[in-house]
Subunit: 201 residues, 2 copies
Amino acid sequence: MGRPRTALLDRERITATALDLLDAQGEFSVPQIARRLGVQTGSVYHHVDGRDGIVELVRERIAEAIDTAPLDAGPWDTALAGWARSYRAAFGAHPRAIPLLMANPVRAPRVLEQYERAVALLLDAGFATADVMVVITALENVVLGSALDLAAPQAMWEIADDTATPRLAEALGAVHGSRTDRAFDLALEGMLVAARRMLED
Amino acid sequence: MGRPRTALLDRERITATALDLLDAQGEFSVPQIARRLGVQTGSVYHHVDGRDGIVELVRERIAEAIDTAPLDAGPWDTALAGWARSYRAAFGAHPRAIPLLMANPVRAPRVLEQYERAVALLLDAGFATADVMVVITALENVVLGSALDLAAPQAMWEIADDTATPRLAEALGAVHGSRTDRAFDLALEGMLVAARRMLED
């Protein structure tokens, strides 16, 4: 009956299908994945640790694209900035997956491992243990807010009547270069300055 | 047949239904809204300017909760910080709506009006016209990244094996106060410092 071979139903396929659904809809269900793969819903559950397990596989897949090499080189702020740039690009490719991933606890071992390296970097740089997750979360605020902005339309504000918002129209007309990239650079630079002050206190 | 009175099908009801669907699913369709309201899909289109019109009604509804009074008082950085705090709370109440709103251009007049006030504040403070939308976007990166974090689980990292990520476990155990709020304060403060430097250049 054209049923795919069982080889199709591995974790790889399940992950790719969940990510496709997230990209298209911002959501996925296990029955939807099963339908796409032409198998019973129960068969999907044989390969993964429940729906949450699929969320973690997706997290791991997206996080694989992050270049972690910067975390091992240079001073902490340069290292953190390099990680942040790559992190933004990886999640910017899947903006609609971001809310689901942020609403679920991180359990994927390879993703926890990235955090371990970022934590070690900051502890070794002299940050107080109590401040480290605050610095990492602030960095993620900037990274993920900007990753969503990467998916925004080129013309983000559409003014029907210039006379109602003349100064907004003027400011929009004056932007040169990439508003999105310049904003990320500004927010990232600021976040690093604020973190540096924490270190000096 | 229990069909609701036409009074039910006003823009108010359509907006509330779209927002409910977004909160639950991160997405809505016009047929879904029609089904929930017990009317034909075509009837919904009589009240709004297409699906995009509904997105703008939702944007306006969420933005109504933002306190814009701070934009009219005090120095620009205090004003911007006050707006940012209220903006974060408004969107933090509807985290799953954020990606859709960021993927659609802003057309709602009352929302454009908020941007007009923020732009005027920054121009009057002396920012270069070309920098104003960069500063506002950087602020939104921080605000919306943090709004998503407000919806994150209390225990965002679940470590099954402490020996694999000992320093992450240590850093998580040491956090005091609200990680989310402290991170937002740090990123916001940093963003304002970076913007202040722009002004001084």
